[in-house]
């Protein structure tokens, strides 16, 4: 971990450890304790928000892996979530499959889709993955819509809560712990993936593909791997989403949802796991904050009908502001804060000629 005061690891063992200083270990322990005790004291609304954050975080981490590290922008995230959700829904309706079948099935579907839609990106650079994933989104949504109309579930597919050995998962608090486990697992997986050979390969190919290839990194393979891993994770998140809401319908997976995920990655800060998490919290909370603000301000009732539009506008404005003024996102702000306190009473002035 690089910070303003320096980098002090001297052995491989030290290097591999996730938390090294005592401060880090204590703050992590306190944070975990807070997370574990929160649901017993918080209101159901906050538990629901927390659940949403955990669920969304998995998808955001997946997108961060592809966009922030492997440098490929994906606009089809909603399509991948839909794929996972519909897999769960279809398997449940047709075969009454339990969760321990649907979850892996979603993962497989995700991987296959990742393979199919990642393939065009091998021959092309930059924008073309964005474009082909856009295609993915529409095609998946179409297939889902077709299934709905053909099978007569025009309002959507309702799912039973998942049950494991007779105990069914329907309580918000129970979901909290399950989703927390999944989110934590996804985070750890991502962190370790990035510290592995694959992660280093991605960092290389993001900086300069030609040089990476010359150094022996199999660029095409790693790009595809990034996309496949990411889509598998996202698909699983979609499956969990279906169970959490007990409902799957095509309308929930709009292009705006894809854009929201992209925003999480940008606002959080490209190239950082912490960024994905911070971005998720920010984007999930934003509509609630907007709602709260419009409720407080003495505006007429007609405004409340426009809440969707207000959300859109505020969202777009926030994204633009971050892109223009804080390209390193929330993580950039966090690092600047950290540096300020670590270096105090000194201050870091950028070198002349640097921005």
């Amino acid at each position: 971990m690089a910070n303003a005061s320096g980098y002090f690891r001297t052995s491989l063992g030290e290097d591999l450890v996730l938390l090294d200083t005592r401060t880090q270990k204590y703050s992590c322990a306190i944070f975990c304790a807070l997370l574990l005790f929160a649901p017993f004291v918080a209101k159901p609304l906050f538990i629901d928000i927390a659940n949403q954050v955990f669920l969304t975080a998995i998808g955001a981490l997946a997108l961060m892996l592809v966009t922030g590290f492997a440098g490929q922008i994906s606009l089809g995230h909603a399509g991948l979530l839909a794929a996972g959700a519909f897999t769960a829904g279809i398997l449940f309706k047709e075969f009454a499959a339990p969760i321990w079948v649907t979850l892996p099935a979603s993962a497989c579907i995700g991987a296959v889709l990742g393979l199919i839609f990642g393939l065009p990106s091998l021959r092309l650079r930059g924008l073309y993955l964005a474009v082909s994933t856009l295609g993915l989104h529409f095609i998946v949504v179409y297939v889902g819509g077709e299934y709905e109309t053909r099978r007569g579930f025009s309002t959507g597919i309702a799912l039973d809560p998942p049950s494991i050995g007779g105990w069914s998962l329907s309580d918000g608090r129970a979901w909290y712990f399950v989703l927390l486990a999944f989110a934590a697992g996804a985070t750890l997986f991502s962190i370790n993936l990035l510290r592995s050979k694959t992660g280093r390969a991605w960092r290389a190919l993001r900086s300069n593909e030609t040089v990476a290839e010359a150094l022996g990194v199999h660029v095409a393979g790693h790009k595809l791997l990034a996309f496949v891993i990411s889509s598998t994770m996202t698909s699983m998140a979609g499956c969990l989403f279906a169970y959490y809401r007990s409902f799957v319908s095509v309308e929930a997976f709009s292009l705006f949802l894809s854009i929201q995920y992209v925003a999480m990655v940008i606002i959080g800060g490209l190239g950082s796991i912490l960024g994905a998490l911070l971005g998720t919290v920010f984007v999930v909370l934003l509509p609630y904050i907007v709602e709260w603000v419009t409720a407080i301000l003495p505006l007429t009732a007609s405004i409340s009908g426009l809440i969707f539009a207000i959300n859109h506008t505020v969202f777009g404005v926030v994204m633009v502001l971050f892109l223009l003024f804080e390209p390193r996102g929330l993580v950039g702000i966090w690092q600047r804060l950290q540096n300020y306190f670590l270096l105090w009473p000194f201050r870091q002035t950028p070198l002349p000629g640097s921005r």
Binding site: L351, P352, G353, S354, R355
Partner: protein, 265 residues
């Protein structure tokens, strides 16, 4: 007779790429009106960077002049956009992408924004490079090396330069073609009163043409003087012009090592 005025004055500039790589440090140059000044040095010495610093960087280069100043006719021009510098009269003929590959020769010449002085744009270009007239409809990407260089200089002339910066005139060209180009360049200079800064790896060609020269190594200027003085300088003769005194004995006589020892030791 008045001493010719100083047209361009580069003072202790430092050029930084990507905010971390310093390509050029402490470089100072003076160019007087009517002179031909040569900038010599090997690959990576910083000659092209210096020229580009004078001409201006665009955002995509992620480069800037982080220290020092560049003054042209009394105005500070460092860190300005290339088109502003061009409109002041300082025009660059680049080393690599010097023409618009997918446009025809005629379109290349039309694309250049003409400078303030009198003559109509295309006329200037075709007057000094009549060979381009019959090549008007050909796509620039299909021109030969010599023709491409002619087009590059021609389109630069359209911008009515007072100071012409030429980067690697002879790169990749046969000696006969280079000789033709030099003759043409001297003619243009005489008729239009141009001042020229020439970056060249081929020191023989450069010192033949130039009045004054600067030698760069590793981003700094290590030697400067009139062309005569440089031509007779022992080190230049050995390292750049290829004349060796005595026999070569062992690896210690290798260029790089001896030069480093002599110039930095």
């Amino acid at each position: 007779m008045d001493a010719p005025e100083t047209l361009l004055s580069v003072e202790k500039i430092e050029v930084t790429y990507h905010r971390v790589v310093t390509a050029v440090q402490g470089v100072s140059m003076t160019v007087k009106r009517g002179q031909i000044v040569a900038l010599l040095g090997n690959n990576g010495a910083g000659k092209t960077t210096t020229l580009r610093a004078i001409s201006g960087f665009v955002g995509m280069d992620d480069a800037r002049v982080s220290e020092g100043s560049i003054t042209y006719k009394g105005q500070r021009t460092e860190n300005r956009q290339p088109h502003e510098v061009t409109r002041l009269g300082v025009v660059l003929v680049p080393e690599r992408s010097k023409v618009f590959e997918n446009l025809s020769v005629a379109e290349n010449i039309l694309a250049a924004v003409p400078g303030k002085k009198g003559k109509s744009q295309a006329a200037v270009a075709y007057e000094y490079f009549p060979q381009l007239v019959r090549l008007r409809e050909r796509e620039a990407g299909y021109l030969s090396g010599g023709e491409r260089q002619m087009l590059a200089i021609a389109s630069a002339l359209v911008c009515a330069p007072e100071l012409l910066l030429v980067d690697e005139l002879s790169l990749g060209l046969a000696p006969r073609v280079v000789a033709d180009l030099i003759e043409r360049l001297q003619l243009i200079r005489g008729e239009l009163g141009l001042t020229i800064v020439l970056v060249e790896q081929n020191a023989t060609v450069a010192l033949e043409l130039a009045d004054y020269g600067y030698v760069m190594e590793n981003g700094r200027i290590v030697l400067d003087g009139t062309a005569d003085r440089l031509r007779s300088h022992d080190d230049i003769r050995e390292f750049y012009l290829g004349h060796v005194q005595g026999e070569r004995r062992n690896y210690r006589d290798v260029k790089q090592y001896r030069r480093s020892r002599r110039w930095y030791g």
